[in-house]
C-alpha cells in the first residue's frame, strides 16, 4: 500500500482511479407446503450490502502501472463501522521492458489453451437469456471469473519477434504461479509453470506450442510425496478463403502425465487428446465443426478444474425441513449464489452432478470422450430473428465398469426475436428462448443400462417502458429423468465404486421486475423471483422459495 506513495515523491507520476460498485438487497421467504410443515427453518431471511471496489492505477513511469483494488463493504444491518469491511481485493503491477517485453506480477489472470489452462463456464449457463445476466455478472465478478481466465498469483511475461523470412513472427509467453502456499505441517507448495511459443509461418499458418507443468515442491514440506502434472499442447492453425468464405482450420494434440512422486501406491498415468475444428463465416452466420478425442487418463489441473463446488454449503437456506436436511446445490444456487463457486485449481477431478452436466463436466478437457461437435452462431434468419445452435455427439473411449460405452448428446438452441423491429416499435421489445438438452445412454444388461436426459427451457421478455427502463420477466424450467451412475474415486482419481442414481426432478425459476439501464454496465434492477426444487423420487423434500431482490451494479 505504501509503495505507490513512496514512489510518488521521487518521480512525476500519474494516479487514476476506476472501480465497481454494487448495492444488493434480497429478502427470501419459504413458500409452498414447506412454509407450513417446516417448523425448524425461519419463515424468511434476508440481507444485503453495499460494495465499492475502488481501483487505484499508479504509473510512476510510462512503462509501469501498479494497480490495487480496495474493497469497501458495508453489510446492511451494521452501523458505525459494525459489519464494515475494508480489504485488499487485488494487487498487481505490469509494465514493459524496453518496449519489447511485457510483464505482469501479483494477482494476474491467466489463460492458455482449452486443454492446458482454461476456466470453463459453469453448467447450464450457455445460451442463457439476457434477463438473467445480472445474476451471472454478480456470481462471476465475486469469483474473479473474467471470461475464461483463472485468477492466479505469480508473474507473467510475453514478447514477440518479427523476423520477415520463413518465420514471420514468434510470440512467447511464460508465467509462473503459486497455486497453493506453504502449509504448516501440511502439503507442499503447489506451483504452476507455463509457457507458449507461437510461430507465425505466414499470414495463414500458425504453429503453437503450449506447456503447463503443475507440481509440488517437496522441499517445502516435511512429507515425502510430491504431485506433478505436466501438460503439452501443440496447435496448428490455417486460415484461408474459399469462394469468398473465410475459414480457419485448427488441429491440435497433446499429452499429459500425472503422478505422485514418492508414493508407491500412486499410479502414474499418461493421457492424450486430439482436437480438430473448422470454422467458417458467412453473412448468414458462423459455422464451427469439430472432432475431439480425449483419453481416459488425460489429466490437466488447469483445464479440468470446475467452477461449481458441489460440496459447498448454499447461502440461502443451507438446511431445511424438520429433518434439517442439508440442501443440495441446485439451479437456483448456480445462477445466484457466489459462495458455491470455486476459485482454486484442484489437483484431482472435482465432483460433479450429472443432473446438471453429464456430457462435458470438465469442458472440452473432459476425459474419456470421443465425438463430433457442430455449432452455428449468429444465425441471422431475418433482421428481427436470430438463432444459435450447438450439438455435440460423444461416446466414451472406454466403458466405465463395462465394455458397453456411454453415448452422449448435448444440444442447445437459442433464439432472439426483436419484436420492436418486427412491429416497427420505437422501444426495444425482445423475446428470447433457449433449450439446453443432454442425454446419456448406455445399452447392455439391465444392471448396466443408462437412460438419462435433462432439459432446460429458458425464456425471457424485455420491454422498454420508457427510455432505458425495462419491464423484464424470465423463466427457467429444468427437468431430469432417468438413471445415471455416479463414480466414486480414490485419492488418485481411480474409480473405486459406483452408485446407480435415479433422477426425476423438476426445478423452476421465475423472475419479473424492472431494470433501468444507465449504460450497458451501469444498471439497477428490482425483481420478484420464485424458485422451486422438486425431487419426484421423494429422496428430498420439495423446496420453494420466493425472493425480492434489488441490485444496483456499476462497472467502470
Amino acid at each position: 500500500m505504501l509503495f505507490p506513495v513512496l514512489a510518488q515523491s521521487q518521480v512525476k507520476s500519474k494516479l487514476w482511479y476506476d472501480g465497481n460498485s454494487r448495492v444488493i438487497f434480497n429478502r427470501d421467504a419459504l413458500e409452498g407446503t414447506l412454509k407450513d410443515i417446516d417448523t425448524v427453518s425461519t419463515r424468511s431471511n434476508g440481507g444485503g450490502s453495499t460494495v465499492l471496489d475502488l481501483g487505484f492505477h499508479f504509473t510512476p513511469v510510462d512503462d509501469i502501472e501498479i494497480f490495487s483494488e480496495i474493497r469497501l463493504k458495508n453489510d446492511f444491518g451494521g452501523m458505525w463501522g459494525n459489519k464494515s469491511v475494508v480489504e485488499l481485493r487485488r494487487l498487481s503491477a505490469k509494465g514493459i521492458v524496453n518496449n519489447k517485453i511485457a510483464f505482469s506480477i501479483g494477482d494476474i489472470y491467466l489463460k492458455q489453451t482449452k486443454f492446458t489452462l482454461y476456466n470453463y463456464e459453469q453448467e447450464l449457463s450457455q445460451y442463457e437469456p439476457s434477463v438473467f445476466k445480472f445474476y451471472r455478472d454478480y456470481v462471476n465478478y465475486e469469483n474473479y471469473y473474467q471470461s475464461n481466465y483463472w485468477r492466479l498469483q505469480g508473474v507473467q511475461t510475453n514478447f514477440s519477434y518479427n523476423m520477415y523470412n520463413f518465420i514471420e513472427q514468434l510470440d512467447f509467453d511464460a508465467f509462473t504461479a503459486r497455486i497453493r502456499g506453504l502449509e504448516w505441517l501440511g502439503k507442499p507448495e503447489l506451483l504452476m509453470l507455463g509457457g507458449s511459443a507461437v510461430v507465425r509461418l505466414s499470414n495463414n499458418i500458425n504453429l503453437g506450442y503450449h506447456y503447463v507443468n503443475t507440481f509440488e515442491v517437496l522441499s517445502s514440506s516435511n512429507g515425502s510425496i510430491a504431485y506433478y502434472n505436466p501438460v503439452l499442447n501443440t496447435q496448428l492453425s490455417y486460415s484461408g478463403l474459399l469462394k469468398n468464405i473465410p475459414y480457419k482450420i485448427l488441429l491440435e494434440g497433446g499429452l499429459s502425465k500425472r503422478g505422485w512422486e514418492g508414493d508407491s501406491l500412486a499410479p502414474e498415468i499418461k493421457g492424450y487428446f486430439t482436437n480438430a475444428t473448422l470454422k467458417a463465416k458467412s453473412k448468414k452466420g458462423e459455422i464451427n465443426l469439430g472432432f475431439r478425442y480425449v483419453d481416459t487418463d488425460f489429466r490437466s489441473i488447469g483445464a479440468q478444474t470446475r467452477r461449481i463446488e458441489y460440496n459447498n454449503t448454499t447461502t440461502t437456506y443451507p438446511y431445511y425441513s424438520n429433518n434439517y436436511y442439508q440442501r443440495k446445490v441446485s439451479l437456483l444456487d448456480m445462477i445466484s449464489d457466489p459462495n458455491i463457486y470455486n476459485q482454486n485449481l484442484s489437483t484431482s477431478l472435482m465432483n460433479y452432478n450429472p443432473m446438471y452436466s453429464s456430457v462435458s463436466p470438465y469442458g472440452d478437457a473432459t476425459p474419456n470422450r470421443v465425438g463430433v461437435t457442430l455449432e452455428i452462431d449468429n444465425l441471422n434468419l431475418t433482421n428481427f430473428l436470430s438463432a444459435k445452435i450447438q450439438s455435440q455427439y460423444f461416446s466414451e473411449v472406454i466403458g466405465q465398469g463395462t465394455i458397453q460405452k456411454r453415448n452422449f448428446n448435448k444440444s442447445a438452441l437459442h433464439s432472439s426475436l426483436s419484436l420492436d423491429k418486427l412491429l416497427s416499435l420505437n422501444k426495444t421489445f425482445i423475446l428470447e428462448g433457449s433449450i439446453n438438452l443432454e442425454t446419456v445412454n448406455r445399452s447392455g444388461s439391465d444392471f448396466e443400462k443408462i437412460n438419462f436426459s435433462s432439459v432446460l427451457y429458458s425464456g425471457s421478455i424485455s420491454f422498454e417502458l420508457i427510455k432505458n427502463l425495462k419491464l423484464i420477466a424470465g423463466a427457467k424450467v429444468f427437468y431430469t429423468d432417468g438413471n445415471e451412475f455416479i463414480t466414486e474415486r480414490d485419492n488418485y482419481d481411480q474409480i473405486i465404486d459406483y452408485s446407480n442414481i435415479n433422477y426425476l426432478n423438476k426445478e423452476t425459476i421465475f423472475i419479473a421486475g424492472l431494470q433501468h439501464q444507465f449504460t450497458d454496465d451501469i444498471y439497477f434492477t428490482m425483481q420478484y423471483n420464485q424458485f422451486n426444487v422438486l425431487d419426484k423420487t421423494n429422496v428430498y423434500d420439495e423446496f420453494s422459495l420466493s425472493r425480492i431482490i434489488f441490485m444496483f451494479n456499476m462497472n467502470l
Binding site: L236, Y238, L255, D295, T296, G401, F485
Partner: protein, 332 residues
C-alpha cells in the same frame, strides 16, 4: 514449402493414442449383476487320507467375481475349516485343503458338511465329504512338546495351589482324546498353578527347531470358559508363557545371568483355541539379566502359568497339544 505444410498438418495427430481395450474402474457386472452359478460345486479328492499327504480341492464357476466362502464342518469333531476367496472361479489354486482346521478341535476321521456361500448374495450350495484319515500335524517342520496322548510326563514338574486342579482328562480334547485340565480358585495369590515343560523331555528332538526367532512359532491349544470377574469385569483367567534359555549350556537356567522371555494374555473365549506366538514377539521381563538375544536353540524349558485375580474367583484354562512350528503358525 507445401511438403513442409503437409508435415506440420500431421503433427498434432502424432499424439493420438490407440483405443484401449480394458474398462475403467471396477466391473459393474461384479458389483450389480445377479449371480449365476455357471458350474456347480465339485469336490475333488473326496475321502482323502490327509495323514499321507493327500488333499481335497473344490471347483465351481460363477457369472461374476465375488467374495465366496467354503465352510467345512466335521460332523463328529465339530471342527471347522474356512476357505475363502474373491474370484469368479473356485479351483485347485485357491481352494486346496490339506486337512487343517480354522477353529479347534482338529478334524478326525469323519464325514463333513460343506457349505459354499457368497458375500451379499443369499445363494448357498451344500455338499458333503469324507475324511478317511485326519491330518498329522507332526512333521519335519514341527517339534512336539506333548500332546498328552501318552499321559502326562511326570518329568514335566510344576506347582498348583492347594484346592486348585491339574488333571489329565480324557474326552473333549482339542487334539485326539486327552488334555490337561487346569482350574481352581485361589483367594490369596494370583497364581493358580504352573507346569514346566523341560526341553529334555519334549516328545520330539528340539534340534529340529529352526534357530531364527522371527520364523519360529510356539503353538498351544487352550480351552477357556470366558468367565468374567465380578470384581474387575474383565476376563477372569490370565495365561502366561515363560521361555527360559540356557545360554551357557550347563543344563540349568540361572535367573541371575540368563534370558527369560514372556507372553501374557487373557483367556477370554469359550472352548478350544489355538494360540500361536512368534518367538520374536516375546518380551523380556522388566529386569532381564541375560544377553537379551532370542536364541530358540538354547531353550531350557517352557513354563505355562494359569493366573487370576485373587479377588475374582474361579479361573480355568485347559491345555493340549504344545508344539513348535517352523516358518508359520501350526494352523496356517
Amino acid at each position: 514449402m507445401k511438403k513442409l505444410k503437409f508435415l506440420l498438418l500431421l503433427l498434432p495427430f502424432l499424439f493420438n493414442s490407440c483405443e484401449k481395450n480394458e474398462i475403467e474402474g471396477p466391473s459393474l457386472n461384479n458389483l450389480f449383476a445377479d449371480l449365476e452359478i455357471l458350474e456347480p460345486l465339485n469336490i475333488i479328492g473326496d475321502s482323502a487320507d490327509f495323514a499321507s499327504g493327500q488333499n481335497i480341492y473344490f471347483t465351481a464357476s460363477f457369472s461374476k467375481q465375488l467374495d465366496w466362502k467354503i465352510k467345512i464342518e466335521g460332523q463328529s469333531s465339530g471342527s471347522v475349516k474356512i476357505i475363502s476367496g474373491k474370484s469368479n472361479e473356485i479351483n485347485q489354486s485357491n481352494s486346496t485343503w490339506l486337512g487343517n482346521s480354522s477353529s479347534l478341535p482338529f478334524f478326525i476321521k469323519e464325514d463333513c458338511k460343506v457349505l459354499l456361500s457368497f458375500e451379499a448374495h443369499d445363494d448357498t450350495i451344500s455338499s458333503q465329504l469324507n475324511i478317511q484319515q485326519e491330518k498329522d500335524y507332526q512333521n519335519e517342520n514341527t517339534v512336539l512338546i506333548t500332546d498328552l496322548e501318552n499321559n502326562f510326563n511326570p518329568n514335566f514338574t510344576g506347582f498348583f495351589q492347594a484346592g486348585c486342579t491339574k488333571a489329565l482328562t480324557v474326552g473333549g480334547a482339542g487334539q485326539k482324546d486327552k488334555y490337561l485340565a487346569q482350574f481352581g480358585i485361589c483367594d490369596w495369590d494370583w497364581l493358580i498353578g504352573y507346569v514346566d515343560y523341560f526341553s529334555t523331555f519334549w516328545y520330539d528332538d528340539k534340534n529340529n527347531m529352526i534357530n531364527d526367532p522371527s520364523k519360529l512359532y510356539f503353538n498351544i491349544m487352550i480351552k477357556g470358559d470366558s468367565t468374567i470377574s465380578s470384581v474387575t469385569n474383565l476376563p477372569n483367567s490370565l495365561f502366561k508363557l515363560e521361555f527360559y534359555e540356557d545360554e551357557n549350556g550347563d543344563d540349568y537356567h540361572d535367573a541371575n545371568s540368563e534370558d527369560r522371555f514372556d507372553y501374557e494374555f487373557d483367556v477370554n473365549w469359550t472352548g478350544w483355541r489355538m494360540v500361536s506366538i512368534c518367538y520374536n514377539d516375546l518380551v523380556p521381563p522388566a529386569t532381564n539379566p541375560g544377553n537379551g538375544i532370542k536364541q530358540p536353540d538354547k531353550i531350557f524349558k517352557v513354563r505355562t502359568l494359569l493366573l487370576a485375580n485373587p479377588e475374582s474367583g474361579y479361573a480355568k484354562a485347559d491345555v493340549d497339544f504344545l508344539i513348535w512350528s517352523n516358518g508359520a503358525p501350526i494352523l496356517n
